[in-house]
Point group: C2
Chain length 376, copies 2
Amino acid sequence: MTDRILEFLRNRQEDGPCMVLDLDVVRDNYFSFAKALPDTRIFYAVKANPDPQVLSLLAELGSCFDTASVVEIEQVLAAGASADRISFGNTIKKERDIARAYALGVRLFAVDCEAEVEKIARVAPGSKVFCRILCDATGAEWPLSRKFGCAPAMAPRVLEHAHSLGLNAYGLSFHVGSQQRDPRMWDGALKAAAEIFRDLAERGISLQMVNLGGGFPTKYLRNVPAVKAYGQSIFKSLRKHFGNRIPETIIEPGRGMVGNAGIIEAEVVLISKKSDTDQVKWVYLDIGKFNGLAETTDEMIRYPIKTAFDHDAKEPCVLAGPSCDSVDVLYEKDPYLLPVSLEIGAKVLIEGTGAYTTTYSSVGFNGFPPLKSYVI
Amino acid sequence: MTDRILEFLRNRQEDGPCMVLDLDVVRDNYFSFAKALPDTRIFYAVKANPDPQVLSLLAELGSCFDTASVVEIEQVLAAGASADRISFGNTIKKERDIARAYALGVRLFAVDCEAEVEKIARVAPGSKVFCRILCDATGAEWPLSRKFGCAPAMAPRVLEHAHSLGLNAYGLSFHVGSQQRDPRMWDGALKAAAEIFRDLAERGISLQMVNLGGGFPTKYLRNVPAVKAYGQSIFKSLRKHFGNRIPETIIEPGRGMVGNAGIIEAEVVLISKKSDTDQVKWVYLDIGKFNGLAETTDEMIRYPIKTAFDHDAKEPCVLAGPSCDSVDVLYEKDPYLLPVSLEIGAKVLIEGTGAYTTTYSSVGFNGFPPLKSYVI
């Protein structure tokens, strides 16, 4: 919550929810990462928030970029970053899209299986590839499935295949889960990575890079360790497992770069009870799962919510969105404490919403427009 | 799957997934509903698919429309239906939006609490209101939460309040859950509705209408009863609970009107295994939860998928979308049987995707565009 955002909202006239993002906070976050991990290159995860102004600022500051698609690559190039600062980090790519990325100058690609290596060898010859390995994501609020990565035991074969097809078997990547609150969780993956480095060195292939992924948290309701603690813990693990031969490293912060830079302003549309005996009120906002708050799915991300009534006593409320869809309920299993005096028509501020909000919006489910956003 | 859709897809050149919807199927569905429930007015649930051509066809056929927002009301008016054929069926409305709807001519509104009644009384004087009640949704594949509706015991007070404020206390509504496969599930709600009719009649308020909601299923993998069976079962319950004084009724089919009219064509982007010992393959499509298949959340809707390899033996596969988001997995707990010979680059046809696909698409998560759609 910054003074600049509050001033912007005071002057805003139009109807409907919006997200306001303060670029000063993004700049601060960038420098925090750069300071905490001074020998690590930063690849901003574009998917967290691909706003052109966010990308331009980060391009200016010297950031590199982790992209999920050709459209994101084009957005990064349009923001002024050169192609050698781009990683095509999605392990699932159409061969046509790899060819397009290569034509745009991209030479760094993620893989997690031999079939993907073969596509890259065919249409992006000589490129660098890094193999994503599965790792333990305990402690993450948005834990990752097994969707990306292969078992560590399979990675040497994938990279050896890349090498044999003329690609540059460049390194490894892993991801400890989004909103990872335990800085020690990088240790196990780094141990596995160091073993693969040694294994491939014995076969004459010298890996150079470890992509430490994202997972760096933003503050929602609970406190999270500072970026510095992550830097220290990761460096300690690198020393422990790689000794004096510490590889080149990169990180891919998304949420940690932009999450706390954004605030959503929304409005209370209705407050009601379902029956006379119900203990819990229902509070309906003009924003829900389909126009910005998709990360409340399974009540995983619990955003801090501020109102003008916060000096009052609070009571448990079910919080829901405005659409005619019964799954559009934000917090119900674990009701949200809101002021007893909260009124229909009141504004609420939802903090920590700079990442994974605008682009998750539906094109217009129920006729509600996508979340508006303002970058200041 | 119609010949017209197959022909359209044969001639399609461009890249990326798309949904093709055959208006002839929508027309057939409309007539099936009209025939199965001849004394019931049909209010198409616009949110299922607000395509202008779908709305125009239904307007021509004489359908009425259930809308969730002012934008949907405007879409229906643009399609040629008059405002007296529109219900503002969302129980969660901003007072400003009620006023806008009233200015556009809408005079029929849903409520489920006294606060909503008061908004309508202030800005839409004299309008008809119906009160939504909670009911049992057992048997539905997309069961509804308690988000909409009040306990039946509270409904008389809500409607009496409407009456006292000069509104027309018009009737009741309920919803037995989307994709409801048991035609008998309307019985319990109709019993509760009849009790409320009697209760209010004793207080001098004569309700006239029961909104039977939606819930009419479309065929996915499992067979569903024909619309006729729903018509018979509902009529039997109306007779049983209302005797000779059967009220005016309306239905709100959405999925049942357009679901089976649409097919998505998608492409296999990658097939891989996570380790040498894994029994289950991972198959990645160029469509997932964020660009059209949101209803696979919690694996609730299980779409039939056709490939050119279906004559071959099948094996269990995890099916996932193309985005760099680990929740973008369609079927994993219950893997999907796909042909062993399925290849990267192959096309797949996903049936029953005319409802709740295009509008759930994100504006561009991961840079993937919203699902394209073609109405033929």
